[in-house]
Amino acid sequence: MIINGVSIDATFAEAFPMKATRAIITAQNEKWAMISAQAMTGFATSVIACGCEGAIERVLDPSETPDGRPGVAIMIFAMGGKGLAKQLETRAGQCVLTSPTSALFSGIDGGIRIPLGKNLRYFGDGFQVSKQISGKRYWRIPVMDGEFLTEATTGQVDAIGGGNFLVLAESQPQALLACEVAIDEMRKVPNVIMPFPGGVVRSGSKVGSKYKSLGASTNDAFCPTLKGMTKTDLSPEIESVMEIVIDGLTKEDIDKAMRAGIQAVCDLGAGNGIKRISAGNYGGKLGPFHFHLQEIMA
């Protein structure tokens, strides 16, 4: 399959079941909601070492937030419910509770309820106040700038992590530009996050390593400087490869995001140095969710 001169590999991205949640952070203005959200989703690029994958889903208009203030929706994904709950609570406590003027709300109404501010209330040292409004429990925790308002719980749902595609380009600036364009389009799709820095990962990994202590190591088949040293997957003109990883609530959400991203890259086309789109997988043996690039773009 070739779109605008860009070759779409007959391969697939392999993804895994994860647990996910969404939280809404509001603040006096968008600037401080964003600062809090960035802190909460910091160091959350990969479950390999961060314990979870998290990112900002989108900026919310005041009309969309529970308290009518500017807000940001963030999503966090983890391999299991326990790990997700721990990451959520720790991050909420250290990054949102501490952030000036912030408030924290559930972003998923259904699902299994996991603590959001339920245990943070003890920071109030007995001065915390509970309010049950429209069936939801909120905690008002006195803090030095006034009151930190948080919903007690949020919803945990089944989700999918690890959808991905690779952008193979003739130069590093061209690969990065293509990924930036793709991320801009993919951020318009709801229920997905791209957890790596700026949504783009340049150090795609393979399973295993020559070093016993490492479970993952550089994806040498896609490293352009190793073209003559390893069993490469790159043709001579490819000088740079970048990857976009997608976590989403459903397969359909990831499908949509991948289609939007790949289409944006293809719109740049071969004329802008984009040669191929590929994807990362483990031979289909590890992850139950397969995202076939050509099917998505058909």
Partner: protein, 270 residues
């Protein structure tokens, strides 16, 4: 299917216990069977059709017309369905209400919504003492749900209240929110003496500055984030509480009752 409509033929000489005429007790009964039910009135047991003319068959939507102020226990422990009362009612309206809606167009007597658990009560007129309170000797008053009163309420509203909302468009009498354990009472009008007497936790939300006891301490003026959420939850009510122009988030906060636990608060609109 039209609402089961009970129209009072005459005002009985004695008080009448209406507790058997709730939706869950009448479910599946025919009009004939409902007519044959008896209601305690003083020493007498009166057949329902002796007191009321009965029209309609929908037992989950009961209408009581021409109601009088000696009909007690209307909607007692109602568990789903709807009761609409046109006229006044007596004591213990919505006693232990579990779920469902009760609406009254007139005035209501003592102990309305006493130990209410959930559901919704709306009164267009005035309400007597001990609204949403506990029975004498009991420690737990209203435990959930919402009460909306468009008129005034008597003394001891929310006595021993534990959870839920009491919304009063008019004035509240003395001892409003006394011995509250938690929950919210909002009063748009004036409040009487001894507001929040011995309250432990809970919120008294006021539109007008009250005369507070010495055991309430001023915590200063604040903008509270939970208030817009609380007001938004009133949006669907047929009430001035749904009017966004009357909502606020800037309040003077008083903590009390310091002679008790002292974790309660009186929030006064600024």
């Amino acid at each position: 299917m039209s609402a089961l409509t009970l129209t009072l033929k005459y005002k009985p000489a004695q008080r009448v216990d209406m507790s058997s005429l709730v939706c869950q007790h009448l479910a599946g009964l025919s009009v004939t069977e409902i007519s044959a039910l008896t209601l305690q009135s003083g020493k007498l047991k009166l057949r329902v059709d002796e007191l009321f003319t009965i029209v309609g068959t929908d037992t989950q939507d009961i209408v009581i017309n021409n109601s009088a102020d000696n009909l007690d226990f209307i909607g007692k422990e109602l568990d789903g369905g709807r009761i609409t009362v046109n006229g006044d009612v007596g004591a213990y309206l919505a006693f232990g209400l579990k779920s469902g809606d009760i609406k009254v167009s007139g005035n209501v007597g003592l102990y309305a919504a006493c130990e209410m658990k959930k559901g919704y009560l709306e009164v267009s007129g005035n309400v007597g003492d001990f609204l949403g309170a506990a029975l004498p000797g009991n420690k737990m008053g209203m435990k959930g749900g919402t009460i909306l009163v468009k008129g005034n309420v008597g003394e001891r509203a929310g006595d021993h209240m534990r959870r839920g909302n009491i919304l009063i468009e008019g004035n509240a009498g003395d001892y409003c929110g006394s011995r509250m354990t938690a929950g919210t009472i909002a009063v748009m009008g004036q409040t009487g003496r001894y507001l929040g007497y011995a309250m432990r936790r809970g919120t008294l939300l006021l539109w007008n500055q009250p005369k507070l006891s010495a055991s309430f301490n001023d915590c200063g003026a604040h903008t509270l984030a939970f208030l817009p959420i609380l007001f938004r939850s009133f949006k669907t009510l047929n009430s001035r509480f749904a009017d966004t122009s009357l909502a606020f988030n800037r309040v003077q906060r008083y903590a009390g009752d310091m002679s008790e636990m002292g974790r309660g608060e009186v929030l006064v609109k600024l």
